[in-house]
Symmetry: D2
Subunit: 379 residues, 4 copies
């Protein structure tokens, strides 16, 4: 029988739901050494916390995250707050000896991130950051194909994350569901919110970046601020692009924006190798496109792999071939890996340390965009 | 606070899992007057029943479905057995005053189906049949567009359900997970298994069929039978196609097969109306294709609607725009509708009576294929 | 130096242009034993004939096709008239010893077609019918893949030809550019116009049909007739579908219509074999979709072959990889094959005899649709 | 009756064929005030010149382009030589009062280009540069939609030109068909060959660029040189990317490479506006993707416009709806516009002056890539 792992969840927004769903379902589909228990939900607003707990079956409620961390019946803390609270909570949780599952990006900047890495490593607690797209089966399959060396030398890595939800000028910065537009809460705009996803996947699939040069833009210069009720300068980046070089010699071209009309959450990536190329996009996440130049020439073409068969990553746990899974399953896979690794005493990537590298790239991007400079990625 | 609705599940296979998942999750996402409780799982093999109950959190186990039906703490019976047991269980459950959620197809044939309809209607119990594809949001959207009259007069309705999993000749008929190849358990082959889905959707979207002519084929003539261990004639249809006319004057062209190499579960439908046309397929179920001739000509084209926004059917309950859901969500929607309707004292389509019409079409198909005749659909 | 082959063209409509373009261009791209010379254009209306001749560079004009056939400086007659004139012209041309390139369908019916076959075979003149889609490079590639046995046993052959241009009820039957709606000129509706294309390709790719059952529909029952100016019953079929069996045991499912809103000229075909499957459609004619089950499972998927490389059929004659050709090139390829075969004393498929088989299928379709019967294909 | 316009063609390679085809066919499809006459073909190698002339029907041959320019029976000079000869020929032709149709890029660099602009403008001769992709009907349609203001404020312009034909290290630089790899003949690598196309279209669709920063890479550092037979450093850029800002405030992200395995000639562009977005790619050049946020939300999606109807740019001249044209038609359209404008005394874009702006951008790219700097585009 699996052991119980008691979860303390901080936050109740979009990510709070996605993580709760993962904890609630993982044991129905995966055989694991631990079963998550939804022990406590924590939010400043007691009523909202209770409603969230009722909806998901959390056994108890807290309104002060410090109290939650102190509770001896909590094994793991899940951080789903705005970015500006990650550091303080994570360090306190680590010091209390709790495992930590932290939403991305790890921190407001690399300096904060480094403190958090030190905290979890000093405390020796299991830790992971919810860069969930690594665990889309099609992306995991891409990793497998790359690791087998099927692409040969890599020439190009391209990634975009395109949205269109902030084009309207009357959307305020901050407030319910909108903290991502408030620089004080989010740290940055699309760089930390969207590009960070693309960077995390890229570092995983293609190794470290060597150097980059970046460009950011804030198209809507002023928005009403939720706290003051006044129009104030927007301090986040609405769009961000960078070019650069990976340490393996391949070229990087990355872009994210919330002003690409027609795209809701279009994370796309393409990798061109000497022998083969890969494409994937989040709008049809259950497909991987694959081109192999070694195919016989008259039947050579991009293959659209419908990633649903039982020999595909994670897919033996779900339904039958031809039946697709969706977005939330990536979180289930993350929890499954976390619990399986816990049983083996292994860490689950991306760890805080892994996520710190992404944070360094984000910092370099913002610095480059401010200065028009090429920046060497630290570390 | 929602009332509890105690579920007794008969069967533990693929459909048993899909339904259990729906019961387990529906209350996390939908606000409903009833919350399903996984009360009892029933299967002949006690060990398998217990394992299934453990996996999904069923509170108890039965090995005799008659016992399950007798239990006063069970409100609703979910029938996930092979087709040849549907009738007996359903009639007994109805007589015991239980609600019934029955897997499709309703029965082995229309004669059985008619008895089942009589039983539930006489007993006055809530009943529904799990033709789940009606509740793919893209398909529900199609229904909405049709009901608003946007297509105008309908000329063509085309549907295919293409698989490729029985091409290998060494797959036995019957046995673990293979009862669909055994005519004694399944009644028919692709007609009841696959075409029945297409027919259910079609009757819902386009109204009743008037008459049809059909063709069936059994490509592999003999297979080892699981019960006898001997090669025996295969009595199911490997492939089935029919042409016909709907009562609204449109033409029908339907096909299903398990010998279409390259397709795992490719249910596709297309409807051509005077003004507009619709296409959908199960391999990318979160998209609907829409063509409207009334669009300005220079920007007229097939639209690929990514059905994830919050104004799409069911989608306000899930994630954010751009993030797709998958196969199992259709069952969650079915349960949600069933529970909501229960609160309002309304029935949930397709009811047993609705499903009987599909059964009549299936019977006519098999008769036509045997005789080379055009058949008028009864009723 | 290539010899000259003097062409006499009868007709100046859409097909007259497509064929003239082929004659005008073939020698720029192909090295051939013969060069076509646009010797004479023939049409009843002298002014239109002259305008057409000027546009395309025909050296002379005739207004009586009998005169054209009598001319000793004409080597080959190209028949681009409405279908009801094919037989008379072809027989006269054959008796005059002219080669004949005849638009499809061969004739109004198989009886006429048989007379035409007898005429050209008795006269021993080179003959071919312009079923041009055989010579789309992607379709020719499909033929090559099939002939190499790559698909294994064939289970299914599916073809559709979908248009939407006659939905408006105020389109007259007959008159300028509309003879295809007039049964007296066309013989049949979509059966001879569209399905005939699908059938020709199918017989080429998959061998002969054994038996079929068909359904036709005329959605708009009356239209103004161009000759009488009065509303008269429409005698052509607006839509036609048939099911059947090929002699190789595979199942046929074919459909054509001019009432499929959203499709202009969507000829699609799909062939499912034991090992591999093929899909093609005319709206993106430069691509072939190919699925091979023998591919390694984790990278198995439908391949989209962009048929532009120099090792693809005909493509070494055109541009460079990645650059697509279009519709009219199929006629260029047909002429190129005709001229190359002429140099070798070989016939060019489809010959009149080949096209007669398509005509037999069309006749069987119309008979079956009238009677609701299964029909054995003659021959 | 149209007047004759005598063409003198210099070069016989890929572009020589594409342009000759355009001259040969334009009058079959367009009604124009001038008809091109293939008067003379010029190449240093007399035998090749004669073979080319025979293939295309040029009336005469020259082996010295100066002689060709001196001929009084030549009205227009078509320059299809490697880039390093453009300037000298164009200036001589202008001084001789000939019209000039020059292959792209205009010159080796902007300095040369400026001399050429001065020459044609001083001489007052008609001039145009063969940036043919402006005249893909789908791209011309995009221009029309943009000019009508349908996109609103533009936020993003993205373009890629991806090929994969130089990955093999044993391809020499220079020699038959390979002068594009020799910096002495080509000036630059993908910047002038591929990006120049993307830039020309962008300047046309979205106005001038303000400033850029670029990155280039030469993946294969040494190749055998055709002239010396020795391995020598490769001086062209194998890949090039730049970011920047247009004067209208939108962001630019451009990339070209010959190392993107799986792409033969994949020129793609995407424009995101406040209200609507456009996508196009050369591999399926007859389609335009269009997203309009003003569409009703439940049927909103990317539209795939099959650009074949008669109300589409240029398409009334070709076949019937649904039937696609190909690559070479863009050159036919260019000639048609050139001849029509000639009749009206108007210039045909892109003129030499238009193309000089593209040259300035290319020069800035190469300078930026060398220095790691942001560059303001001159002019």
């Amino acid at each position: 029988m699996p052991k119980k792992l008691n979860i303390g969840m901080i936050g109740y927004g979009f990510m709070g739901r996605a993580h709760s769903n993962a904890y609630a379902n993982v044991s129905h589909f995966f055989d694991l050494p631990y079963t998550p228990v939804l022990k406590a939900a924590c939010a400043r607003d007691a009523e909202k916390a209770q409603a969230f707990a009722n909806q998901w079956g959390y056994e108890s409620v807290e309104t002060d995250w410090r109290k939650l961390i102190e509770r001896s019946d909590i094994d793991a803390i899940d951080i789903c707050t705005p970015n500006n609270l990650h550091k303080e909570i994570a360090i306190a949780a680590a010091e209390a000896g709790k495992m930590i599952l932290c939403e991305k990006p790890l921190a407001m900047n690399a300096e904060e991130g480094a403190e958090m890495v030190a905290a979890v490593e000093n405390a020796g607690v299991a830790n992971t950051v919810w860069y969930n797209y690594r665990r889309v089966p099609a992306v995991t399959l891409a990793k497998q194909l790359i690791d087998e060396g099927r692409l040969g030398k890599i020439y190009h890595y391209r990634a975009n994350f395109l949205q269109d939800w902030t084009i309207a000028e009357d959307i305020p910065q901050g407030g319910q569901g909108l903290w991502r537009l408030d620089a004080a809460a989010a740290g940055s705009g699309v760089t930390g919110d969207l590009l960070a996803h693309c960077i995390d996947t890229a570092l995983w699939l293609n190794g470290s970046l060597d150097s980059i040069t970046a460009m950011t833009e804030t198209f809507v210069k002023e928005r009403e601020h939720a706290l003051t009720g006044k129009r104030e300068p927007v301090k986040i980046d609405d769009a961000c692009a960078f070019m650069g070089r990976f340490k393996n010699g391949s070229l990087a071209l990355f872009e994210s924006t919330r002003y690409a009309r027609g795209h809701k959450a279009l994370y796309t990536l393409e990798i061109n190798g000497e022998h083969a190329s890969i494409q994937w996009d989040l709008h049809d996440l259950h497909r991987l496109s694959w081109f192999d130049h070694r195919d016989e020439s008259i039947v050579r073409g991009w293959r659209s792999i419908h990633v649903t068969d039982h020999d595909m990553p994670y897919m033996d746990k779900w339904w039958v071939p031809g039946l697709q899974i969706g977005y939330e399953h990536t979180f289930v896979h993350h929890v499954a890996d976390f619990l399986a690794n816990l049983g083996k005493g292994e860490s689950t990537s991306p760890t805080f340390r892994d996520a710190l590298e992404t944070q360094h790239v984000c910092d370099s991007i913002l610095k480059s965009a401010a200065n028009g400079s090429w920046e060497k990625i630290p570390g």
